[in-house]
Amino acid sequence: MGSLALKDLYEGFRDPKTIRALVKRIGIEAEKLERDIHIMEVCGGHTHSIVKYGLHQLMPQNIHFIHGPGCPVCVLPKERIDHAYRLAMQRDVILVTLGDMIKVPGSKGSLQDARAKGADVRYLYSPLDTLKIAKENPDKKIIFFAIGFETTTPMSAALIQHVIDEGIENILFHINHISVPEPMKVLLDAKRSKIDAFIGPSHVSVISGANIYEEFPNDYHTPVVVCGFEPVDILEGLLMLLKQFNEKRCELEIEYTRSVTPEGNLVAQKLMDRFFEKRTHFRWRGIGDIAQSALQLREEFAYLDAERIYSDLLPNREIDDHKQCICGEILMGAAKPVECRLFGNACTPSSPLGSCMVSSEGACAAYYRYGNMR
């Protein structure tokens, strides 16, 4: 990939003049608001951008960000991180996963710790790199520990397709794919929830389409704008939301029109559907049990499922976070990271106690890293 093309993807979307102009327009709309508005950016990528670029510092007093649960490693409960650790510690196993997963500590330690103890743990840029590792290590079992929302699920599905088509016998899967809309509903239903509107993650909608959020304006009376990740995208999306409030509209809108359509990528959806089905329940760290919120391999692909094959080895007892951790409150918008007594003291990115501190996309980690300048 040439760097020129890459630059074109973001350069205009960080332009200081455009940012200032949008902030001004947001200010004008905000003045017309009848009450304070709490906007949840669901995705960790948005949280990261907001805090990195300091967009929250530019907001009028009556606009508040609530940092959502959209960071796939943050919401993975400790017992599942322990699965990765246990699998990695098997002598004949090479555990492969995406980079974000390596540092996250379970109850025994992180994959990084497992590696220091001799485990073979590797991170990938593309799940398809697993094929190469499997070919180079025919005497080992390669377990792909799959994490992520709808954005990364098609890549796992593509890898499964290759494994089946090429008859590869030494690749297994541990599936932790989760879905965005279900936790949004749970958060809206929570008594203490302050959420008035959502900024929807655009990369998820590139795959699943914007329509997965249709029920929020329709059934929950909560508007959604599907947004890109650059500062200009986020500000533009905010402006669209504020206009909805001032014009008494409640709709699903797309800001990220350069890649998102209402229906999404139908080919990818079909591929995912072939291999995966919904789990009846999945426990989210910081939130709790959410029905129909995660995927597992369908019964007919059980022979590829490390979770089933190694079930004797994998603990399922629920492990909760530190008692004083307020990640649940933070995810509902009832508290800010700095209000937690553990924040920055007992709980830091190098030794996180709660889900929001775990990855750079978690609200606490983003605040810690980039400072709470407001």
Partner: protein, 331 residues
């Protein structure tokens, strides 16, 4: 059972803690506690430093482990205003290492020594069984003659200006791509090079150098944070002034890295009083190794011991020490 993880060698938070809580605690003495790039000994006449080198791949775009092992130690001396003079060289080689590769490394060391006007005066060779080390480890230790006294990370003061000598993050970004076998059609290469010729020019120009440090592991973020802490100052950096090449920006964009925390091997930071800044820039820009030099920030009383990164649209954030291992993000 606590064990050493890769993060303990990252030049950032964990690395710093290990050094302070173990090595400094037990080796405690006045010279060591100065925590400078090189120790200043013999009443300020000599600078003394050591560094060990391990890099994958051994031969990379812009250099190799041999060149790196001379630049690394000589640059640490140069950063204390010292002319590199005498070096020792110890190599630990894995059984089976190709002799022709070893010679390539040695020749590259020789050529880099010449640029510094330094010589290897003592050495040691160990060969260990296959698997005991990753191909080859090199340690160099160096003594330099201090030509400019008083450089210290502990005496930067309010209103001083911070200058960076070149575009940042090139070594870290290019090594990462090569190590991971990622094919990029770019001109990106390591900035690995000797800095003494540049420093010599600065001294000749009679610039009053307050602090100077090459931004190796942990990158510019690590140096600025160490300075802020050691001198008890706030450093405010204008983000848009920091020179970053298009290639490094692209790599960071793609993998979710921060250019400020990527390693450099021939790019340094210098703190000077405002009166010396124009001359410093002029001298730096006259040399190829520092032609892209820029004033990137100034020292204020804002947030003591913190580094503040300011955007052109009026927001700011703290630039923290890098922590953990360099890992790409998924989305």
């Amino acid at each position: 059972m606590k064990t050493i993880g890769l993060a303990h060698g990252n030049g950032g938070e964990e690395n710093g803690r290990l050094i302070e809580e173990l090595f400094y605690r037990h080796f405690q003495n006045e010279i060591l506690q100065q925590a400078e790039d090189a120790a200043v000994i013999e009443e300020g006449k000599l600078a003394f430093t050591t560094d060990s080198f391990t890099v994958t791949p051994l031969f990379f775009r812009g250099g190799d482990i041999g060149k790196l092992s001379i630049c690394g130690t000589c640059n640490d001396l140069a950063m204390m205003g010292a002319k590199p003079k005498y070096l020792t060289c110890a190599v630990i080689i894995e059984e089976g290492f190709e002799l022709s590769e070893l010679e390539k490394i040695v020749l590259s060391m020789k050529s880099e020594l010449e640029k510094n006007g330094a010589v290897i005066v003592s050495g040691d060779t160990k060969v260990v069984p296959k698997g005991s080390v990753d191909r080859i480890f090199i340690n160099t230790t160096g003594i330099g003659e201090i030509r400019y006294r008083g450089i210290s990370s502990n005496r930067i003061s309010q209103s001083d200006l911070i200058i960076v000598s070149d575009t940042i993050g090139r070594h870290g970004a290019s090594i990462f791509l090569e190590r991971e076998g990622m094919e990029f059609s770019t001109a990106l290469e390591s900035d690995c090079r000797s800095l003494w010729p540049v420093v010599e020019k600065l001294i000749e120009a009679k610039i009053e150098i307050k602090a100077m440090r090459d931004a190796t592991r942990g990158g510019v973020a690590a140096v600025l944070n160490e300075w802020a802490r050691q001198s008890d100052i706030c450093i405010e950096v204008q983000e848009e002034k920091v020179p970053i090449s298009r290639e490094v920006k692209g790599v960071c964009e793609l993998l979710g890295f921060e250019p400020f925390t990527l390693a450099n091997e021939g790019t340094f930071l210098i703190a000077v009083e405002p009166k010396d800044a124009p001359k410093t820039l002029e001298v730096l820009r006259s040399m190829e190794a520092s032609s892209m030099a820029e004033i990137i920030g100034e020292v204020t009383a804002g947030y003591p011991q913190k580094v503040l990164l300011k955007t052109p649209y009026g927001t700011s954030r703290f630039l923290e020490l890098p922590s953990g291992e360099l890992l790409p993000r998924i989305c």
